[in-house]
Amino acid sequence: MSLASEAGATAGGWRRYFTWNTDHKIIGVQYLVTTFCFFMLGGVLAMLVRAELAQPGPDLFNGTEFNRFLTNHGSVMLFLWIIPVLAGFGNYLVPLMIGARDMAFPNMNALSFWLIPPAGLIMLASFFVGAAEAGWTAYAPLSTQTPVGQTLWAVSVLILGTSSLLGAVNFVTTVFTMRAEGMTFWHLPLFIWGMLATSLLVLLATPVLTAGLVLIAMDRVAGTVFFSAANGGDPILWQNMFWFYSHPAVYIMVLPAMGIVSEIYPVFSRKPIFGYKAIAMSSMAISILGLTVWAHHMFTSGMDPRLRIPYMISSMIIAVPTGIKIFSWLATIWDGKIRFTTPMLFALGFISMFLIGGITGIFLAAIPIDLHVHDTYFVVAHLHFVLFGGSVSAVYAGLYYWFPKITGRMYDERLGKLHFAANFVGTNLTYLPMFLAGLLGMPRRVADYSPEFTTLNLLATLGAILLGTSTLPFLYNAVVSWVSGPRAEANPWRALTLEWQTDSPPPAENFHELPVVKHGPYDYGQGIGVGGQGQTAPAVGD
């Protein structure tokens, strides 16, 4: 690392993270750190929920308090953590990976970040005026009748949607117009494909939620009657508008995560990725199919029965591109020279747990099964295996993988492995019992339950405590390593994607000289190097 770049990277020190800064790397870190804070807040809310559910009977909170914690746990985790944290990776990595100096709209990029903290404060401030309590799904008419916090909730989610929308415009424009020379679409890293597919969904689905939130807010504030059945309004309309966004949102929350692990498997297996085009195209297929499946959330809502079968079929078809990815990943690590570093462990954890979440999703898409387990803990277990076992594992994998690049320091591998072990055991201990409880008929979103479910709930609560505690070694590792960890090389993992072909951390404007791309991002063992930096990446395995 040259002295000049060192000075450039540290100019302004930590203070620049608290300012309006248009450097995508600063914005990326702002995203990652801010959303992690919300993750911990959402975690505290989850702990409160699990504490109440450790034993049957309303022992800690009353039903309303429980509903408020539950609603805000879900809303914070989805809208303030998993969606924006993946956008944070996108911000940091998209320009670096395509060989650009910044995003296409640097000021708009800063705006998308700075919309998040106020939106988060609005959502959490609602606890002082009667927080939202209609669940993260905010089903009408409950959401049009609950206290004023629900209005703040709608405003907050609307702002976060706008932030996500601006980000999507920026990502797509950046990828289309700012790629380095030689960076053709078939040379794009798979994380970029994931971000493209996600951004497409954000662009097409988020505005419909925005429209729905406008209608909810109008019902609450302006006296309209959209969702008031007493005046001829239709509560199901909200469900349609909500799920038109919120089912694709599941893919918004998982496609970039799939992109992250697609970066990690080849690097730590020292093999080219298996089925590059299949993985890239399956992301686009998921994105397009994802817009056609939303009503499978409404099989029990009184929808037209003739519509059920088409939605069941489209929901099951979407498992095909997902399966293509999973087989491609397995084929990538098959017979590879695997290094079990922390990012690789989390990425492997991702496959195993996402698979459980994904397969139970197919159960839920089947109408007869859904009619039985709808609104039970089976659904809770399913979505947490997808989003916690899946997306959050991938986020951790990504945080460890790019930690040396972002901070210029190495993290502590032993603490990382400890974190992985606790996280993996904790996730399974928390959510596996919920499948059983759900199959036995325990309804979700209720503060109390029948005593026969006590053992399963106690297990889940113990798992949640383990999960919460598992964050501590990560926090300690991240903070201490960032301050005083050993210096990281430019390319400690010997990876071929462009972000590793510049300094750690990258200098202002990313590259000393814009790279020229001459080969694919995963050509391990192909006897080639990376041009443009005068460096040659290792062509073969360790």
């Binding site: 415009v169 424009t173 020379e181 960076m183 097409l204 419909v208 429209a211 109008m218 239709d234």
Partner: protein
Amino acid sequence: MHDATHPAEQTAMFKAGDRLGLDHLKLGMWLFLASEVMFFGGLISAFLHFKINNPSPESSLLDVVLVGINTFVLLASSLTVVLGLAAIQRGDRRGLMGYLVATIILGFAFLFGQGNEFVTLYRHGVTLSSSLFGSSFFTLTGFHGLHVFVGICWALMTLAKAARGGYAQEAHLGVEIFGLYWHFVDIVWIILFTLIYLV
């Protein structure tokens, strides 16, 4: 740090985008408009859902002729935007400013017409909370009116920049981008006019 407002500098720096023949501001605007299509799509679906399943006698209070004239006013404003762009492409800055002023006047005329219609309906007892028709009609047309208002503000900013000499024969991207938005708002109105007043 490069500034997003200097397209010449951008294209010099990013050859890949150049080869695609895409300007990043224009692409960004198209993407934003795609999301606007979905936003109005959501509101229009809600309106149609109620129009089909809960038809309301109140819709007979709508004055198709007056609103038709208003529609013509908005269409004319799209024409003036096109003429303004053509003017600056010839290097005629005064022409651009003249047509922008015309656009702004036509935009306000449309909003005046809409306001007039709203007041008439309120006098007949059709309000936001009177019925599903009132709720969905005022919300949908109101949000369109809001978009027209934003467009007028944008036109005023474009006018101010033109007055400072901010556009030239070779550099009129800002006018084009504004035009994309204005035409979009216009097209949305054509759809709304058809669905609300004609069908």
